[in-house]
């Protein structure tokens, strides 16, 4: 196994940026509410990646601690979010976000 510390920091950051950008794009473009939800997770994980990359690079634990926090929050969010999605599907019988538009004037 090659030494991970040989991989430059910038690679991690670029990958993190790409993951985050994919998440943003999916968040903006996708119509299926579950896909949107997954895009959010993708963005979170993109950020997580940069956190651990920095933590390893600077030999500092706080970045990893942050990642744990983010994962906990993401888990909670997934639980609540999926519950909302199920509730929405039961009332609206659709998962298309364009048709979930009651919240307007």
């Amino acid at each position: 196994m090659g030494n991970l510390s040989n991989v430059p920091l910038s690679y991690y950051l670029v990958l993190s940026g790409i993951l985050f950008a994919c998440g943003v794009l999916g968040f903006l473009i996708k119509r299926n509410i579950i896909t949107v939800f997954m895009s959010i997770e993708l963005m979170l994980n993109g950020v997580n990646l940069s956190f651990v990359a920095f933590a390893a690079h600077w030999h500092h634990l706080s970045g990893q601690i942050f990642v744990f926090f983010v994962m906990v929050v993401a888990a909670a969010e997934a639980a609540v979010g999926l519950a909302i999605i199920i509730a929405v599907y039961r009332t609206r019988e659709t998962l298309n976000v364009d048709q979930v538009n009651l919240l307007k004037l």
Binding site: L28, R31, I33, V36, L102, L103
Partner: protein
């Protein structure tokens, strides 16, 4: 000066009456209201009599400091009262005549719905008038001055549902404000230059000024400003216009406030300030000229009026002119003498006119009266006495005081005397015209003078009275005794009231107050024959006026109409009161109304204030209206906004980092 602890009670007693009736009158019985309304002014009258009985021409003034009021540095004005010979005369006239008119009002206003309100206002008026009369400093006097103005406003507009009454009240109030403005500035000047408004301190300061720095300019301006105030309150040229309109009020109000007491406050104030005026000859001359011109001017208007109360109103203005003429020629005691006799006979004239109006069911037009002599003999007799008195027929009250004024005016300038005599002739003429039109000949009013819509100020009350009292107005009838009693007492006073002036006793009584040592003695010795000659002239013009009125209105009643026709424009000018109201409307009212409408209303209020508020609100509404479109309800558009926001934040941070 002697302290007298009862002095403050005199004004406060009527105030108590006003408060009790004002707060509880709505739910009390009319008997209770009447008792309260009569007892308190009556007690004040008795107290005044009691004090007067121990007061002589030689007495030192009484005073009483009730409480501190305003203290600022060395300046102070307190609730303190003051009584000297001058205020005593006023005090007796106000409480005495006022009490009689209270009694009369019981009969006159009994059936009005606002009976308790009326009585409460009358008592309130008494409080303010007595404060004015008894004040020891100008500021407390000013409180009374404004207060009687307020009471006058409330009582003129007593029947406020009538548009003309409400606007007459407003007119009186506003015209009086102009005068009060002058009065106030005079007070400010006094404070600035003398540091006090207390009569005793102020006048001794003015008298101790040495002749070189006598400050003639200062005292002249103060005197002129005081005269502005007096002209407003006492209805002199050019501020007299409110008084004739004030006749919209109930007749007892016209008698009490707009004839006997309040309108004489200006004369009292000028007489009280005699120390200032004596040092300001120019101001004195102005006072005399204004008084003389007003006397003549108002008397000529009185000739052509057909409303019985309007005739009396212009007569009041004219008689007040006499009083100012007297003050202006330095004969303050003669002015106050005329003030007192005028309170008797003019109060009586108004009350009798009220009795007539009452008797014919609310009609005020003299052309629809006539022949009332047989229907209401008491009213006829008493009003006849008052007419003789005001015309200056000896030995009634008006003769003594008017003659005194004319004689003193002659001593200063014969022009004043001449105009005064002409005025006396006109006075006699229009008063006997009133008598012949009202009481002479045959009754000209129809039996059904009952159409309330077309009737005048007092008609509504009369109408109520008629329906409640159960007597119709088919025929004129005499008034009840509660109204006739005051008439008889006032008639007696008009008969004999003048004799207090016999042998200059009245003048000697006031001499202490006016600090004028027997200067009359010189006149008496040298000009006795002249005085008798002048007396002869004024008496003969009075009789001439009577004869002329008799010829025109009793012997040849068709003649006045033809004379009026042949005079054409002149007659129209006189009967339209010389178009003064129209002139004022054109010169002052219209510019103010139009300026307010064009500049203040449409310019400032609508253009600036409203516009600022409205435009702010509009801008907020438009912005929100546009921003509202962000709130589409579409989750993806929200997501887009979130992403855009994030992008902006990141771009900003990068840009800051680059810098």
């Amino acid at each position: 000066m002697t302290p007298n602890p009862y002095l403050w009670l005199i004004p406060v007693l009527p105030l108590a009456g006003a408060a009790i009736n004002g707060f509880f009158g709505r739910h009390s019985s009319k008997k209770a209201i009447t008792t309260i309304a009569l007892i308190f002014p009556g007690a004040a009258f008795l107290l005044a009599l009691f004090i007067a009985s121990r007061f002589s021409s030689a007495s030192a003034p009484y005073y009483y400091d009730l409480a501190q009021w305003i203290r600022s540095g060395s300046f102070h004005a307190d609730f303190s009262f003051y009584l000297d010979q001058l205020s005593l005369v006023m005090l007796l006239a106000v409480t005495g005549v006022g009490f009689l008119i209270h009694i009369y009002s019981v009969g006159y206003m009994w059936d009005d719905d606002g009976y308790y309100r009326f009585m409460s206002y009358l008592n309130l008026f008494m409080f303010f008038m007595l404060t004015l009369v008894l004040a020891k400093n100008y500021l407390l006097m000013f409180i009374g001055w404004e207060g009687v103005g307020l009471a006058s406003y409330l009582l003129i507009g007593f029947w406020f549902v009538k548009d003309s009454a409400a606007s007459a009240g407003k007119k009186a109030f506003i015209v009086n404000r102009i005068g009060d403005f002058g009065f106030l500035i005079a007070l400010f000047l006094l404070i600035k230059h003398f540091g006090t408004l207390d009569f005793t301190a102020l006048f001794s300061k003015i008298q101790s000024m040495s002749p070189e720095n006598a400050g003639v300019g200062l005292l002249t301006s103060i005197g002129l400003l005081l005269m502005v105030g007096a002209a407003g309150k006492s209805a002199q040229i050019p501020l007299y216009v409110w008084l004739p309109d004030a006749m919209e009020g109930p007749t007892p109000v016209s008698a009490l406030i707009h004839a006997a007491t309040m309108v004489t406050a200006g004369v009292y104030m000028v007489a009280r300030s005699h120390v200032i005026f004596e040092r300001a000859p120019t101001a004195m001359t102005v006072v005399a000229i204004i008084g003389t011109l007003t006397a003549l001017f108002a008397a000529t208007i009185g000739i052509a009026q057909t409303d019985i109360k309007k005739v009396l109103a212009y007569s009041t203005v004219s008689q007040l002119g006499y009083m100012f003429m007297a003050c202006g020629v330095g004969a303050f005691s003669a002015g106050i003498f005329h003030l007192m006799t005028h309170a008797f006979f003019k109060g009586l004239l108004f009350l009798a006119a009220g009795s007539v109006i009452h008797g014919v069911g609310g009609e005020q037009d003299m052309r629809k009266m006539g022949g009332l002599r047989t229907y209401m003999p008491w009213t006829f007799a008493t009003m006849g006495i008052a007419t003789l008195a005001i015309a200056g027929i000896p030995p009634l009250a008006g003769f003594w005081s008017k003659d005194e004024i004319l004689w003193r005016a002659f001593g200063v300038n014969w022009a004043y005397w001449l105009i005064g005599v002409v005025t006396a002739f006109i006075t006699s003429f229009y008063m006997f015209r009133l008598m012949y039109l009202t009481f002479g000949g045959e009754y000209r009013g129809g039996p059904a003078a009952h159409d309330v819509k077309h009737q005048s100020a007092d008609a509504r009350a009369m109408h109520d009275k008629a329906s409640h009292g159960g007597h119709g107005h088919g025929e004129p009838h005499e008034s009840p005794w509660v109204m006739l009693g005051p008439l008889v007492i006032l008639a007696l006073l008009s008969l004999i009231g003048g004799f207090v002036g016999y042998g200059n006793r009245f003048e000697h009584f006031l001499a202490t107050a006016f600090q004028s040592p027997a200067q009359e003695a010189v006149h008496e010795a040298t000009e006795n024959s002249v005085e008798y000659m002048l007396m002869g002239v004024s008496v003969s013009v009075a009789f001439l006026g009577w004869i002329l009125a008799y010829l025109l209105y009793s012997r040849r009643p068709e003649l006045p109409g033809r004379i009026a026709q042949s005079l054409g424009a002149l007659y129209r000018a006189v009967s339209n009161k010389y178009y003064v109201d129209e002139l004022y409307a054109l010169l002052f009212v219209q510019p103010v109304v139009e300026g307010s409408s064009a500049i203040l209303w449409k310019g400032v209020d609508q253009g600036v204030i409203d516009a600022t508020v409205n435009n702010t609100a509009d801008a907020a509404r438009h912005t929100s209206d546009n921003l509202r479109h962000m709130q589409s309800g579409n989750i993806r558009s929200y997501a887009g906004w979130v992403a855009a926001g994030g992008a902006i934040v990141i771009a900003y941070m990068i840009w800051m980092g680059v810098r």
